[in-house]
Amino acid sequence: MRWEIKPLYTPLDLQEIGFNYQADLGFPGQAPFTRETRPTGYRSQLWAMTQVTGFGTGEDSAKRWAYMLEQGLDSLIIEYDLPTTNGYDSDHPLARGEVCRAGMALDSLRDMEDALDFPLDKLNNIMSVCNAPQPVNLAMLIAALENKGKRLDQIRLMMPNAILIEYTCVGRYIFPPKHGLRIATDVIEYVIRNHPTWAPLSVVGAQLYAARANPVQEIAFSFAIAKAYIDALLERGFTIDEVAPYVRHITGIDTDFFESIAKLRAYRKVWGRVMKEQYGARKPESLRLQLMSSPGTMDMTLQQPLNNIARLGIQMLACAMAGGAYTINTPLHDEAHALPSEEAIAIGAAIHNIVAHESGVADTIDPLAGSYYVEHLTKRMEDAVLEEMEKIDAMGGALKAIEEGYFQRKLAEQQTARNRAIETGERKLVGVNYLVKPDEKREIEIFRLDDSAEQRQLERLRQLRASRDDAKVRQHLEAVRRACRDGGNLVPPILAAVRDYVTHGELCGVMREEFGEHDPNALTPDI
């Protein structure tokens, strides 16, 4: 978003917006949380450093994850290949050529067991990114961890379970939105009741941001989506204070330094207000935004990729100064080229640590508080978010806004506008439309996937299918079908099925038959 920015801000600007220290800032860890959600911020505990990865077979991924833990990370974010996230087994015709590519292939519990075949003692958190088939994915993680002898209360599983974001911009959905929401709600309910220390929902605003939402849209759409989940949980008999602490958010950060800082501050301020004013939440945990930040979401250029290291430094600095994120994703300068190389992972980890330990910006909490400019920007963002949220409420909420294509249309407008701004040079991007090197040679190491991965995966799946008890598989699938129909929670029958190596695609296949499929073109209603 390009706000109209004045050349100078003075106390008059704060007066104009009615700025009041107690009402607008307060103290860290206290409402309205503008300064920080925790009383001591990064002063007592730095952010956790994590990174998205996953490719090839389970075995291939396990090697990479072991490497990442050696680099000092303690959390993993697992990405799956497109057949998996779309609910197909590797031997499905639509999967050809895509198996093992954009993430790890997951056909059965056996793949998850292979993927976790490394010392798990240093691993504290796993975020598993598999939205439409989330219950299948959750079940495979639970069963694999149990089989590996890991106590489930000694690890924290986190899942975006962010199906409503998929309908809005990413597109890895399977079922129609209302069924998608029911499935996601089953997962949340199951986790709250059985594994209360886990995190069954993260609204991935970062995806909206990557799809060119401006900061106001990112926050407003994310919160509207969060409200749809909350409403579904309240309908199942939970109270707001039982569910609000389980709602997490993931935000995207780009190089616009002050805007990023204002966005992070407005995020936590508005969340607390929405929980309190709209839902009557009372517990402090319900009002505290739980946020993970993802620098490098935008503006990672393909051209002159080493420049991205400078961009990431600025973005990390904004994250560290604004505070509020308990986890920050490791930024990667080769994002626009391929899956991350080992070199990019090591540099990303270094960027975290340089900002954390050399810059000094995390030494005091919310150091920019009181800045005429930052406070003005934060307040404007807060007001604009609340206004946009009212508009979405008037439409009938996020599910309606998705079904009617409102979010998708708004994002398409933004995409076109941003592209135009870059093409006309109105917005300068070094290496893209400014200081361009005409005969640029690639200057970084690029990760290359071993081409044999798909064949290896297909062979493993063939062996698995040949070795199973087919009658048992059919029984499990019928149990899942019954749960689809009678509205029972889908997780228990799916967990029983994956333990007997019923495949991911078979389970999603039954749900496809029961729930139907969503129109693939609903993502782009105008083209």
Binding site: L82, P83, N86, Y88, L94, A95, R96, G97, E98, R101, A102, C169, V170, G171, R172, A211, R212, T301, L302, Q303, A336, L411, A412, Q415, T416, N419, E423, V432, R442, P520, N521, L523, T524, D526, I527
Partner: protein
């Protein structure tokens, strides 16, 4: 005044990256082209059949998940079988440099990598289609 240029924009495989194809569809339409979108998650069979049925001058494929080396050869083969040899085939998205020569060998007329401007794409399409139609290039 020559007939308007008709373009089929296509997405194949499970790749649902929307931004490129959205920006391109709007931009090409604004530039005076007739644009048809295949929809997401299509097979080469469906795309080739739509190209024939819609009588397009250009098939533009958007690929950002690395599936192009699988479906482009198949698409071009199907198009040839249907007599669509004169249809211009262009490909855009995340395409590694090392794939470009192979794509050209199988009959892809032009590959546009990330960062290509809409104007460059529009100019290329106008001149390539004019050449195929035997019209003067303006």
């Amino acid at each position: 005044m020559s007939a308007p240029i008709r373009i089929l924009l296509a997405k194949m495989g499970l790749d649902t990256h929307t931004i490129g194809v959205t920006v391109l569809a709007k931009g090409l339409r604004d530039a005076g082209f007739e644009v048809i979108f295949s929809g997401f998650k299509q097979t080469p069979e469906v795309v080739a059949a739509s190209a024939l049925q819609e009588d397009v001058d250009v098939v533009g494929v958007s690929s950002l998940s690395g599936g192009h080396m699988r479906y482009m050869p198949h698409l071009l083969e199907l198009m040839r079988e249907q007599g669509l040899d004169e249809t211009l085939v262009i490909l855009g998205g995340v395409i590694p440099e090392e794939d470009i020569a192979a794509l050209s060998d199988i009959g892809v007329d032009r590959v546009f990598t990330m960062g290509t401007s809409l104007d460059d794409i529009a100019t290329y399409i106008r001149s390539a289609v004019a050449a195929r139609r035997g019209e003067p290039v303006t």
